[in-house]
Symmetry: C2
Subunit: 213 residues, 2 copies
């Protein structure tokens, strides 16, 4: 069950046939798991022959890797844009959390495949994905470190807190349903407020206020 | 890759052959996914014949359901014990988060199967698990509502905050590794502190102090 936004995740992958295969791969892996899915299943969903799939992807693992890489690159792009934006650390952290949580709500099917099938990647592909994950982690840690240095945040364990913030947003993909009571935007707002409280220095201007609006 | 504690999750399931099959089921589902696993695979891992499996579980789905039910009952037991314990809401919430996060670290393989294979459950079994999940949610919301009523917490969106707290702890199962830098106990402490800040009333005795120790 993919919603319209999920397809848009592959909007800049070329050619269009590769996009269709990535979408079909996400759907098939999400429904039955990577190991229970064949390249024939994926090609069939995309309305193509198995031979046509091999023009774009060498193996099923290669297709999973491309899904994972696009997903992780989007995630890094979101966190990088927030980290490099203007404003105090609190504003940049709120931007990062708002956009990262929203992305995991909108693209929950893709995000599930990306997160739960990591162990199926080959060694080299896995190493490439791990490098992207370290980047994402480093960018978010940087925002928190800025806030601590400026006295806006009080955080004793920066790596642990950064991990918790990312984990909170990623897990949205597990439970989010488009039929639920919160839109991706509302969820992003809620989470930005909760994370703001997690890091705010006592008595700081944002302390405790974010979710009281 | 299960660690010793994971096996202990089935310690009170009888007879011992059923325990072995549940452990084998968790391992097989975690490695290959539910749909790519056969009852023959599971029986083989447990050193038993496929016929012997059917003495204890009617179908592969029945075995998944038993894994899921035991997992959810443990989770509910943890949150219920904290909810019914002595002390202010802040102390009870810290106990709940500490134990819930620690459980998801110690039993990460089981928790992954329980959380990621829900869609494979049959309709009646799924309904039974959803009832357990609602109980867990209600118990945690109750602690937060107590804290708001007593003025210890300031939380505008109690259901959304309860969902975020549970989600934060559940996602530990996704990324936790016994080889990582934090023990389950250390992680439980970190998370109890972060959640305490998420809910504390401004100027309350716990506001902002929990992760400053």
């Amino acid at each position: 069950m993919q919603d319209v936004q999920e397809t848009a995740a592959w909007g800049d992958v070329e050619p269009e046939a590769a996009q269709r295969l990535l979408t079909a791969g996400v759907e098939a892996f999400a429904e039955r798991g990577y190991h229970a899915t064949t390249t024939r299943d994926i090609a069939g969903r995309a309305g193509m022959s198995p031979a046509a799939l091999y023009i774009h992807f060498r193996t099923k693992e290669d297709l999973l890797f491309r899904i994972s890489r696009v997903g992780h690159e989007r995630a890094r792009g979101i966190i990088a844009a927030a980290a490099e934006s203007e404003g105090a650390a609190g504003e940049r952290l709120a931007r990062a959390v708002r956009a990262f949580a929203r992305w995991h709500a909108e693209h929950h099917t893709t995000a599930r495949v990306v997160q739960y099938e990591l162990a199926a990647l080959g060694e080299e592909h896995y190493a490439e994905i791990v490098a992207l994950r370290r980047d994402i982690d480093r960018l978010l840690r940087g925002i928190i470190e800025d806030g601590v240095r400026d006295g806006e945040f009080a955080v004793a364990d920066v790596p642990g807190t950064a991990l918790a913030v990312l984990s909170l947003c990623v897990d949205v993909a597990r439970w989010f349903s488009a039929a639920g009571s919160r839109s991706p935007d509302e969820l992003g707002e809620l989470y930005a407020g909760l994370v703001g409280r997690m890091v705010a220095a006592p008595g700081g201007r944002d302390a405790g206020s974010s979710s009281q609006k």
